[in-house]
C-alpha cells in the first residue's frame, strides 16, 4: 500500500540517534544535555512516525502489512523481512510510546555516563521494535537475543547495589532458554527449508516433532514471560534496575514471551500446543495464586510490583491457550494494559525513590498529606492493576476469564481468585505508602509531582482510562488477525485428527 519502508525506519531511526549521540563531544555538562535531548527527540519523532501505522493500518485483513523484503543470504533462503499484523502492531506502538517516557523519566536521576545510558536505550528500542516486526526467524532471533545486551548493561551499570548478581541472573536465565530456541530454529529450517515466518505458519510440522520444537520455544518464552517457576530473575532484575529499566523491562520485554507464544507456538505447533495446554494452565494458575500471595508478603515496593507482574502475565498465558477469540484477544489486551499499568507503577515507585532513596514500604506512610496529586495518580494505576472496570486492566482480565470459562471452568475459577488476591496486595500496598499520618521526618518536606513528572504520567493516565472505557479502537485491530489465527489452528488440528483417524 505504500513504498515507504516504515517499519525499517521505525526500527533503525533510534540506532541513527544512538550513533549521533556517540559523536557528541565537548564539555561534560554539554554532552549530558545534548545526549538527553537527542535521545528524547529521536524517540519522540519515532513515536510520531509510528502514528503513521496507527492511521494506515488496515483492520480488515489478516495479512501482514507494511511488508518489506530484501534478500540477505539467498543461498540459504534467509531474507531480511519485516511486517506487522493485528497481533504485533500494538506492541510496536507500545514500544515507541514507552521509550520517550523512559528517557524523560531518566532525565534527572541518571547523572553518571549519561551518554552511554541514552545510547543503550535507543539501541534497546531498535531491537525491541525489530523483534516485533521481524518476519524472518533468523532476523527475529537476532533481535530477540540482542535485546539482552543493552538491558544487561542498563541493569549492570546503572543498577542498585546487587546489580551484578541481578544482571547475571537475568542474562543466564534468558540465555539458557534461548539456546534451546536456537536449536529449534535450526531444526525448523531443516524441516521446512525456509525461515520465512508466514511460510512457517502454513507449514505443517509432523506432530511428534512439534512436541520437541514446542518445548524448545517454550523454554525461552517461559523465562521471558516469566512463568512460574522460572520467574525468580524478575524480582531481582526489577529491584536492581534503574526506574526506566524496570519500566521497559515490565512493559515491553515481558511481552516478548507472550508475543512469541502467539506468533510461533500456537500457529506453528498447534498439536503440541493442545497437548501442553494442561501444563500451561497449571503453571499459570500457580503463577496467579502463588505470586499474588508472595506479593502480599513483600516489604519492597518494586518487588511487590514485580511479583504482581508475574501474576498478571499468568492471565496472558491462560488466555492465549484457551484458543477462543475472547481468550486470545484478552491475552493481547492484557499484555498492552499491563504494559501501560506496570510501567506507570514502576514510574510511581521511581518518583518517591528519587526523593527518599528507599524502596522499603516501611519507609513511607501518609504521603497523601504532602503529595495529593501523586496519590491520585497512584490510585488510578493501582485500580488499573486491580482490574477495576473502566480501566484498561479490566478488559483484558475479563476477556481472558470469559475464554477460560469456555475452555475449562476450573481454570476460570482458580484464575479468578487473582481478582481477590490482587485487590488485597495492591490496596494493602497503597494503604501503607499513601494513607496514615505522616510521621516520618524524612518525608516531612517531600514534594508533590513536578511538571516533568506529571508529563510522564499524563499519556499513561489517558491510555489507562481510554483503554478501559472505549477499547474498541484497540480490539478492532486484533479481530481479523485473531480470528484468522484461530481458523488456521482449527483446520490444522482437524487435519491432524483426520490423519490419525485415517491411520487407525
Amino acid at each position: 500500500m505504500t513504498q515507504l519502508p516504515i517499519l525499517s525506519l521505525l526500527t533503525f531511526l533510534p540506532l541513527v540517534g544512538a550513533v549521533f549521540i556517540l559523536t557528541i563531544r565537548g564539555d561534560e555538562a554539554i554532552v549530558k544535555r545534548n545526549a538527553r535531548h537527542v535521545a528524547l527527540w529521536t524517540s519522540v519523532i519515532n513515536f510520531a512516525l509510528s502514528m503513521f501505522i496507527w492511521v494506515h493500518f488496515d483492520t480488515t485483513t489478516a495479512d501482514f502489512q507494511f511488508v518489506e523484503s530484501k534478500p540477505w543470504m539467498p543461498a540459504f533462503n534467509i531474507g531480511y523481512k519485516m511486517g506487522i499484523d493485528g497481533i504485533s502492531m500494538l506492541f510496536v506502538l507500545l514500544t515507541t510510546l514507552l521509550t520517550p517516557i523512559c528517557i524523560l523519566a531518566s532525565w534527572e536521576n541518571i547523572n553518571d555516563r549519561v551518554k552511554e545510558y541514552m545510547i543503550s536505550f535507543l539501541v534497546l528500542e531498535t531491537f525491541m521494535i525489530g523483534m516485533f516486526c521481524a518476519l524472518d526467524l533468523v532476523v527475529f532471533y537476532i533481535f530477540f537475543e540482542a535485546v539482552l545486551i543493552p538491558m544487561f548493561l542498563i541493569i549492570g551499570v546503572w543498577g542498585g547495589p546487587r546489580r551484578v548478581y541481578a544482571s547475571f541472573k537475568f542474562f543466564l536465565y534468558t540465555l539458557a532458554g534461548s539456546v534451546l530456541m536456537l536449536l529449534a530454529i535450526m531444526a525448523m529450517y531443516f524441516d521446512a527449508g525456509t525461515t520465512d515466518i508466514p511460510g512457517l505458519m502454513v507449514h505443517r510440522f509432523p506432530p511428534e516433532r512439534q512436541t520437541w520444537l514446542w518445548l524448545a520455544f517454550f523454554a525461552s518464552f517461559a523465562v521471558k514471560i516469566p512463568m512460574w517457576p522460572v520467574h525468580t530473575w524478575l524480582p531481582d532484575a526489577h529491584v536492581e534496575a534503574p526506574t526506566a529499566g524496570s519500566v521497559i523491562l515490565a512493559a515491553v520485554l515481558l511481552k516478548f514471551g507472550g508475543y512469541g507464544l502467539l506468533r510461533f507456538s500456537l500457529p506453528m505447533f498447534p498439536d503440541a500446543s493442545v497437548m501442553f495446554t494442561p501444563l500451561i494452565y497449571t503453571l499459570s494458575i500457580i503463577a496467579v495464586i502463588y505470586t499474588s500471595l508472595v506479593a502480599l508478603a513483600q516489604e519492597d515496593m518494586k518487588k511487590l510490583i514485580a511479583y504482581s507482574s508475574v501474576a498478571h502475565m499468568g492471565f496472558v498465558t491462560i488466555g492465549a491457550f484457551t484458543l477462543t477469540v475472547q481468550g486470545i484477544e484478552g491475552a493481547i489486551y492484557q499484555m498492552l494494559a499491563h504494559g501501560v499499568i506496570s510501567a506507570a507503577l514502576f514510574l510511581i515507585v521511581g518518583v518517591v525513590y528519587d526523593r527518599i532513596h528507599s524502596r522499603e514500604i516501611a519507609a513511607y506512610g501518609g504521603l497523601v498529606h504532602r503529595m495529593p496529586g501523586y496519590s491520585l495518580i497512584f490510585m488510578v494505576f493501582m485500580l488499573g492493576s486491580v482490574g477495576l472496570p473502566g480501566t484498561a486492566g479490566f478488559v483484558g482480565e475479563f476477556l481472558v476469564l470469559v475464554g477460560a470459562f469456555k475452555a475449562n471452568t476450573w481454570v476460570a475459577a482458580f484464575a479468578a481468585t487473582g481478582l481477590i488476591l490482587g485487590a488485597a496486595y495492591m490496596l494493602y500496598l497503597y494503604r501503607r505508602v499513601i494513607f496514615g499520618s505522616l510521621t516520618k521526618d524524612s518525608l516531612a518536606a517531600i514534594k508533590d509531582l513536578s511538571l516533568r513528572e506529571f508529563a510522564i504520567f499524563a499519556p499513561l493516565l489517558v491510555l489507562v482510562i481510554w483503554m478501559g472505557i472505549y477499547p474498541a479502537p484497540f480490539l478492532d485491530i486484533m479481530h481479523v488477525s485473531v480470528a484468522n489465527m484461530i481458523t488456521q489452528i482449527d483446520s490444522a488440528l482437524n487435519a491432524s485428527t483426520a490423519i490419525s483417524v485415517a491411520g487407525q
Binding site: 500471595l293 477462543t324 472496570p389 473502566g390 475479563f398 481478582l419 481477590i420 474498541a472
Partner: protein
C-alpha cells in the same frame, strides 16, 4: 433527560475533584472553594433528581420503557457489550430513589462536614458514588452492571477510608473492598456462565432466551448441573457480598468507620441494596431455578435473624443501625426468594428513606454529642434535641413496622408472601422474619431509650455542648421523614397492590408456578396481624428492660454470659475469618517467598547451579597440582579405561 439524570453527578464529581487541587489549604472557614464544591455537587444532584423525576413520569406513568444506547464498550467475538441506559419501571424507580436520597444527603453533608478539612474531596466522592450507582441501575447488560457494581465498591472504599489518618478506617476500607471482591468473584463467574449459556450478556436477549434453556445443563467443575441454577447461584454470591448477607456481611459493620452521611447513602439506602436490585433485575433467570430461589430465601431469612440478634447487644449507635440494615436486606432477599420481587423492591425503597433518616438522625446525635458514638454515654437527650428525637422516632416506627409508617406495609407484604409461598423455605423465612421483626422493634427502642430517655450518662462538658443541628442538616431530614411516613401508604397499590401489574409492566417476571404474592392477599388473619403484634411486643419489652428496670439488662447479660459474649462478638465471624483466611494468606505468602522462591527455586536453580559450577571449578583447579606423576597417573588411568572400553565394547 436520562442523560442528565445519570451524568450530572459525574459532572459534579469531576468539578469537585478538580477543586481538590486548587484548594488553598490555609484559609479560614468558610472557604470559598469548599463552598463552590458544595454548591456545584449539590445543585448537580438536585437537578439530577429532578431529571430522574421527569424520567419516572415518562417511563412509568407515561408507560414508555426504552433503552438509550451510548456507544460500544467491549466487542470481542460474540461478546458485545455497550454502554447504555435502560429505562423501565424497575430502573426508573431506582433512579428516582437514588437521586433523591443522594440529593438529600449531599445537602445534609454541607452541614455535617462543615468542620472537615477536605470538603471538595468528600463531595466529589459522594457524587462519583452516585454516578456509579446510577450506571449500575440503568445498565442494559451484566457487564455494565458489573462496572457500576465495582465502581460503587471503589467509592465505598474511598469513603470508608475517608479519614485516612485513622488506621481503623483504612483497615475497614480494605476489608470492604476485599470482601466485596470475594462476592464479585462469584458474580464474575456468573457472568461468564451466562455468556457461555446464552452467547450474550444483554438482559433482553437473555430474558428472551431463558425459557428455551429451562432444562439446559452445563458442566462446571466436571459435574453436570442445571445450567440456569449455576448462573443464578453464582450471581447470587455476588449479591451476597454487596448486600452483606450472612457469610459475606463482615465488612458492613466495620464500614461505619466512614463519615455518617456515607453510612446513610452507601451503607443503608443505595449500594447495599444493589444485590437485591440485581436479583430482581434477573428475575426472569431466577424464576427458572427453584434451587436458586430456595437458596436466596434461606440466606435472606438467616441473615435477617442473625443480624437482628447481634443488633440487640451492640453499644455503638451506628453499629446497631448497620446490623439493622443487614437484617432488613435479609427481608428483601427472602421476598425475592419467594418470588415476591415487587414486595422486595417496595421494602427497598421504603427502607432507603427510613434507614437514611435513622442514620442521618444518628449523625445529628453524634454531631450534637461532639463525636460520641457509644450509647452508654448518652441518655436523656430528648429535651435537648427534640426535633432530632421526633425524626428518629419516625424512623424507628417505620423500621419496626408500625402502622401507618412505610415499614408496616412492606414488611407485612413480605411476611405474608413468605407464608403464602407454602414451601419449606417460605415457612422458615416467615418464622425467622417474625422473630426478626420482634427483635427489630426491640433494638430500635433500646436505641431510642438509651439515647434519648432516662438520666443522662454523658459528661457535663459534653452535655453543655449538645445543640440541635443547623437547618441545612435538619431540613433534608424532613424529606426523608416524609418518605418514611407516607411512602408505604402511597406506594402500596402501585408496588404490590391492584395496580402492580400495570405499574411494573415487563420489568419483573413471575412464573405462574410461583404465586406467593398473589396468594398473600388471602392469608389467615393471624398472619396479617402477627408482624404488628410482635412489633408492639418488642417495643414493650424494650420499655420494660430499659425504662422500667434499667438494671435488668446487666443482670441478664451476666446470667447468660456465654450468649451475651457470642452476640457481642458478632458470632465470632471476624475471628474465624482471620484464622482461616487472612493469617494463612500472609503465612503462605511469606513461605512461598522465602522457602519456595528463595530456598527451592533459586537454591536448586540459578544459585545452586552457579555454586555447583564454582565448586567444580575449584575441584578442577585442585587437580592441577603441578606434580608430574599426578598427570602421568591420570593419563595412564585414561589409557587403561579407553583400552578396556575398546576391547569389551567392540568385542561383544
Amino acid at each position: 433527560m436520562e442523560l442528565f439524570a445519570v451524568f450530572l453527578p459525574l459532572f459534579g464529581a469531576l468539578c469537585a475533584g478538580f477543586l481538590v487541587f486548587v484548594r488553598a489549604p490555609e484559609t479560614g472557614t468558610p472557604n470559598r472553594i469548599d463552598t463552590t464544591a458544595q454548591w456545584v455537587t449539590s445543585s448537580a444532584m438536585i437537578l439530577a433528581a429532578v431529571a430522574a423525576g421527569a424520567v419516572f413520569w415518562d417511563v412509568v406513568l407515561g408507560n414508555n420503557p426504552h433503552t438509550v444506547e451510548l456507544f460500544t464498550w467491549i466487542d470481542s467475538g460474540a461478546m458485545e457489550v455497550s454502554w447504555a441506559i435502560k429505562l423501565d419501571t424497575l430502573s426508573s424507580v431506582m433512579l428516582l430513589m437514588v437521586t433523591t436520597v443522594a440529593a438529600v444527603i449531599h445537602v445534609y453533608s454541607i452541614g455535617y462536614m462543615s468542620h472537615d478539612h477536605s470538603i471538595p474531596r468528600f463531595m466529589s466522592y459522594l457524587s462519583l458514588f452516585t454516578f456509579f450507582m446510577l450506571m449500575l441501575v440503568s445498565a442494559d447488560n451484566l457487564v455494565q452492571l458489573f462496572f457500576g457494581w465495582e465502581g460503587v465498591g471503589l467509592c465505598s472504599y474511598l469513603l470508608i477510608g475517608f479519614w485516612y489518618d485513622r488506621p481503623a478506617a483504612n483497615a475497614a476500607a480494605i476489608k470492604a473492598f476485599v470482601v466485596n471482591r470475594v462476592g464479585d468473584f462469584g458474580f464474575a463467574l456468573g457472568i461468564f456462565a451466562i455468556f457461555v449459556l446464552f452467547q450474550t450478556v444483554d438482559y433482553d436477549t437473555i430474558f428472551a432466551a431463558v425459557a428455551g434453556k429451562a432444562t439446559a445443563t452445563m458442566v462446571v467443575f466436571g459435574i453436570e448441573f442445571h445450567a440456569i441454577t449455576v448462573c443464578a447461584v453464582l450471581l447470587f454470591i455476588g449479591a451476597m457480598g454487596k448486600s452483606a448477607q450472612l457469610g459475606l456481611h463482615t465488612w458492613l459493620p466495620d464500614a461505619m468507620e466512614g463519615p455518617t452521611p456515607v453510612s446513610a447513602l452507601i451503607h443503608a439506602a443505595t449500594m447495599v441494596t444493589a444485590g437485591v436490585f440485581m436479583v430482581v433485575r434477573m428475575s426472569p433467570l431466577f424464576e427458572y431455578s427453584d434451587t436458586a430461589l430456595t437458596l436466596v430465601t434461606v440466606v435472606g431469612a438467616s441473615t435477617a435473624i442473625f443480624a437482628a440478634t447481634v443488633a440487640c447487644v451492640q453499644n455503638d449507635i451506628k453499629r446497631v443501625i448497620a446490623y439493622s440494615t443487614c437484617s432488613q436486606l435479609g427481608y428483601m432477599f427472602f421476598a425475592a426468594g419467594v418470588s415476591a420481587y415487587s414486595a422486595g423492591v417496595f421494602h427497598l425503597v421504603g427502607h432507603a428513606f427510613f434507614k437514611a433518616l435513622l442514620f442521618l438522625g444518628a449523625g445529628s446525635i453524634i454531631h450534637a454529642m461532639s463525636d460520641e458514638q457509644d450509647m452508654r454515654k448518652m441518655g436523656g437527650l430528648w429535651k435537648l434535641i427534640p426535633v432530632t428525637y421526633a425524626l428518629m422516632l419516625i424512623g424507628s416506627l417505620a423500621l419496626a413496622g408500625i402502622w401507618p409508617f412505610a415499614g408496616y406495609y412492606s414488611k407485612d407484604v413480605i411476611l405474608e408472601a413468605a407464608y403464602a409461598a407454602n414451601t419449606l423455605a417460605g415457612g422458615y423465612a416467615f418464622w425467622m422474619g417474625i422473630a426478626a421483626a420482634f427483635l427489630t422493634a426491640f433494638y430500635s427502642w433500646r436505641l431510642l431509650i438509651m439515647t434519648f430517655h432516662g438520666t443522662s450518662r454523658a459528661s457535663a462538658k459534653a452535655l453543655a455542648h449538645v445543640h440541635e443541628s443547623p437547618k441545612v442538616m435538619i431540613v433534608p431530614l424532613f424529606v426523608l421523614a416524609a418518605g418514611a411516613m407516607f411512602m408505604g401508604y402511597l406506594g402500596f397499590e402501585s408496588f404490590v397492590g391492584h395496580n402492580a401489574e400495570q405499574f411494573w409492566g415487563q420489568a419483573i417476571l413471575v412464573l405462574p408456578s410461583h404465586p406467593a404474592l398473589e396468594a398473600s392477599h388471602g392469608v389467615p388473619l393471624w398472619v396479617k396481624y402477627l408482624p404488628l403484634a410482635v412489633g408492639v411486643a418488642g417495643i414493650a419489652l424494650a420499655y420494660v428492660l430499659y425504662m422500667g428496670l434499667p438494671s435488668l439488662p446487666g443482670v441478664l447479660a451476666g446470667r447468660m454470659r456465654w450468649l451475651y459474649q457470642f452476640l457481642l462478638n458478632k458470632w465470632y465471624f471476624d475471628e474465624l475469618y482471620d484464622l482461616i483466611f487472612v493469617r494463612p494468606a500472609f503465612y503462605l505468602g511469606r513461605g512461598f517467598w522465602k522457602a519456595g522462591d528463595g530456598a527451592l527455586i533459586d537454591g536448586v536453580g540459578p544459585d545452586g547451579i552457579s555454586a555447583a559450577v564454582k565448586h567444580l571449578a575449584k575441584r578442577a583447579g585442585a587437580l592441577q597440582s603441578g606434580y608430574l606423576y599426578h598427570y602421568a597417573f591420570a593419563m595412564l588411568t585414561g589409557v587403561v579405561v579407553l583400552v578396556t572400553w575398546y576391547l569389551f565394547g567392540h568385542g561383544s
